[in-house]
């Protein structure tokens, strides 16, 4: 086994390594774990020569809640609220990934109306997750105003989802085999009214910040990720599409009722900088919100009128031991994958959740050589990493 890289560790007793770095003339800074802009509890060990970084090593695990081990102890139905916490900003998707994996284990179908409810809830959640992402990114760059604007719009979505399932953040809305509640009466009109209002706000948002000179100067040409590197490090979601790779799970491996809808997949084109730079990642998310509005309108128009929102699910879900299933969904942060191996009783034997933020953290060390500290903040924000997804 080759000697591991000499990196400063959390072990505070190992002052020798720290001292060697400091003697070389570089500064060793801790950015985090409590920091206004590391998108959750993440620590970065930054070795800098003044403003310019030599290395930025992420240290994660502060939010590790052993969700995968809990999956081995919970019944399949009972695990659904835990999946909310895998990514509490885009909780519907985590719910859907789990539901799809267990439904594949059971080999069951979900009623059509339930699928439409799932799509509506998920696309609304995608918009609210992207709002947080672009709002906090703008705030990290220094423009504080887009953040309350994004939150204001997110409040409307929170109200809509609260009306739907009773919760504003961790929804626990999906169930194995369907959804928990049907759409309330008058819901279609409320969502349509929100979409009419929101699409104009997106234009205002673009006027305010997306095409702002200073914003572009900060983000254009920042950490451009070539498509091959993005694929090698397994970046997913808007990060991958900003690098020009045309892959969206909803189009490439369609699930649920997405084949019924027409929508575009925004790809990074290097409009103001290089293809795959931080501005492209930002812009991809803004455009995805627009596409989600399109999907929502179509979903509301095509909503089936039958009433079944749950399929035939046994009371106690028991699956033969060793059955395994894999589900992939397009979460707000990319391709979220669940690998579930069924256990002997009513629990799973192993649950592995592969999230987009986890692999995105792996690329930060490689990209951060030669960046400035302000750029590191912008880079983390543009990759849209959230601590719960990384640590689970």
């Amino acid at each position: 086994m080759s000697k591991p890289l000499e990196v400063p560790t959390m072990d505070m007793e190992n002052k020798e390594v720290l001292r060697r770095i400091e003697i070389g003339g570089d500064m060793l800074l801790n950015m985090g774990p409590q920091h206004p802009s590391t998108h959750g509890v993440i620590n970065f060990l930054v070795q800098t020569d003044g403003e310019v970084m030599k290395r930025a090593i992420p240290e994660v695990g502060y939010l590790h809640r052993s969700l995968e081990k809990i999956g081995e102890r919970c019944t399949y139905n009972g695990y659904m609220p835990y999946t909310d916490r895998v990514d509490y900003i885009a909780a519907m998707f985590a719910n859907q990934g789990w539901a799809m994996a267990v439904e594949r284990l059971l080999g069951m179908q979900v009623p059509r109306r339930a699928e439409f409810c799932r799509v509506i809830a998920c696309e609304l959640n995608r918009i609210s997750s992207h709002l947080i992402s672009v709002g906090t990114m703008a705030m990290d760059i220094g423009a504080v105003t887009p953040f309350p604007y994004a939150l204001r719009e997110r409040e409307f979505i929170n109200d809509l989802l609260e009306e739907l399932c009773g919760a504003r953040l961790t929804y626990n809305y999906l169930r194995i085999g369907g959804v928990a509640f049907d759409l309330p009466s008058g819901y279609e009109d409320k969502v349509s009214a929100f979409l009419d209002h929101f699409e104009k706000i997106l234009d205002e948002f673009n006027r305010l910040i997306t095409y702002n000179e200073i914003f572009i100067k900060r983000l254009a040409h920042l950490a451009p990720i070539p498509a091959q590197m993005a694929i090698d490090y397994c970046l997913v979601g808007p990060n991958l599409r900003a690098s020009g790779v045309n892959f969206d799970v909803r189009k490439a491996l369609p699930y649920s009722v997405y084949p019924d809808f027409q929508f575009d997949v925004p790809l990074g084109k290097g409009e103001v900088g290089t293809v795959g730079d931080a501005w492209d990642r930002f812009w991809c998310r803004v455009e995805e919100m627009r596409q989600s509005c399109r999907i929502l309108r179509q979903a509301l128009a095509q909503l089936p009128q039958d009433t079944a929102i749950m399929g035939k699910v046994p009371r106690k879900i028991k699956i033969p031991e060793g059955t395994e299933a894999y589900s992939r969904i397009e979460s707000a942060r990319g391709d979220m994958q669940y690998y579930v191996v069924a256990g002997p009783g009513e629990n799973a034997h192993r649950v592995k959740i592969r999230t987009g933020s986890f692999t995105a953290m792996g690329i930060i060390d490689a990209l951060s050589r030669g960046l400035m500290i302000a750029d590191l903040v912008a880079l983390i924000a543009s990759l849209d990493v959230v601590a719960p997804e990384i640590d689970r």
Partner: protein, 189 residues
Amino acid sequence: MTFEEIQQRLAAKFGERIGALAPANKDPFLVVPAADIVEICRFAKEDEALAFDCLMNLSSVDWPKKNQIEVVYHLWSYRRRHSFILKVQLDRAKPEIASIESIWKSANWLEREQYDLMGVTFTGHPDLRRIMMPDDWVGNPLRKDYAEQPQWHNITTTRDNSLEGYVRLDELTKKAAEAAAAAKKELPQ
């Protein structure tokens, strides 16, 4: 390409070392010998027909009854849009396997996670250290026989059970009524 075609292509290249595809218990997979994993993965990435340019997922599953730890590799090809599942079965007492970080960079963090949580050692990994747990943690949490140490740096890992000595109110009143009835029966009459 379907799972069968991929397995045939691998068998054509590696012959005896590639067994048969496991039957689809929802998802079919291929078990390969641990010693050949690097070679097989490199071929899977560089072969034009397979072109697996992405290691989607790397997990490990603990099977104490079979005395094995399985490492599961989920491969995906963006160019050909097909996926595949490779499995390696390691001895539970000493789970060691070569690292494929030199083939796919995403394996760097994924292997570190399994090293940390399951205790699988990946030889040849450039930076194998714990990722979720603190660096001086003892034990591998995802193992089935994992017992948490009682304290870490003088912070206890257990809390007192707040339900100890807890009696529900209706049981309490029932007990009090029974005690009163028993006391009344014992009163000398």
